[in-house]
């Protein structure tokens, strides 16, 4: 799904629908959708292609987004609010303000970012579920 803005956000939208259908609370669905959406946009803006995998278990929602993009040379720097490597034309589409990774972090309980420059990046987002949510293990 890299490089293509027409369907940008479709994957996250689908995830939101699926999670809602599983009976997960609105607040958790929203956090998962936002984190995934920002990760999806990062792939679209920076990478040639990427994949989103997710799983829902009794205690958590796990979303893994991996791409074959340029990689992130300095992850800590990339996590800084306002830091962006997005090209100018992307800013004119409403993205590229450097809030992606910070927004992902804000909405997840655990976040792991692994990246190799020249090969790609994998982001693992974990959102803990409160007790009592209905779910189906995957």
């Amino acid at each position: 799904m890299g490089g293509e803005f027409t369907h940008a956000g479709a994957a996250s939208s689908e995830l939101k629908t699926i999670l809602t259908g599983l009976g997960i609370s609105a607040d958790l669905v929203r956090r998962a959708a936002i984190a995934t959406f920002e990760a999806e946009m990062n792939v679209i803006i920076h990478a040639a292609a990427g994949v989103i995998n997710y799983s829902v278990t009794p205690d958590k929602i796990q979303i893994v987004v991996s791409d074959m993009g340029p990689g992130i040379p300095d992850i800590e720097l990339a996590m800084t609010e306002g830091y962006s490597t997005a090209p100018d034309w992307v800013r004119e589409m409403g993205w590229g303000a450097g809030m992606g990774l910070p927004n992902i972090k804000k909405n997840s309980d655990e976040l792991r970012v692994e990246s190799v420059v020249g090969e790609g990046t994998t982001i693992e987002i974990i959102i803990s579920k409160k007790e009592g949510d209905a779910c189906e293990g995957e």
Binding site: F5, S12, I34, F37, E38, M99, N103, K106
Partner: protein
């Protein structure tokens, strides 16, 4: 304030009807940057005023639980964006006013946005 009343104040036209225009709107945000909207804490019954007309706005509105979007300066989204909004049940309106005047009028009527960090007045 109802969406219908807001449309009157902004001299706005409805592009997509997503239900009863007597829907209450409780907060307004104004931004052309999508990540900013995702950062903005969801309040139910919210409205977005923007000059960005691509389909990203509708996608972001859906993910951020924003109910209605008003486009300014008579900027009209394309057919695909309108269809997406219809599919997702998000109101779309357009006004000839600028973002400044639109915000000014609604602020004057007592509407406010509200971000998690700032807290409400």
């Amino acid at each position: 304030m109802t969406l219908g009343r807001i449309a009157e104040i902004l001299d706005a036209e409805f592009l997509v009807n997503a239900g009863d225009p007597n829907t209450e709107i409780e907060s307004v945000c104004s931004s052309d940057l999508m990540s900013d909207l995702l950062h903005f804490s969801a309040r139910p019954k919210s409205l977005l005023i923007t000059g960005l007309i691509n389909n990203q706005v509708v996608r972001t509105a859906e993910i951020a639980d924003i109910n209605a979007v008003v486009f300014v300066l008579n900027k009209r989204p394309d057919r695909e964006t309108v269809s997406l909004a219809e599919e997702k049940g998000i109101w779309l309106l357009v006004t000839r006013l600028s973002r400044y005047t639109a915000c000014g009028r609604l602020y004057g009527e007592g509407l406010r946005s509200c971000t998690e960090e700032d807290g409400c007045d």
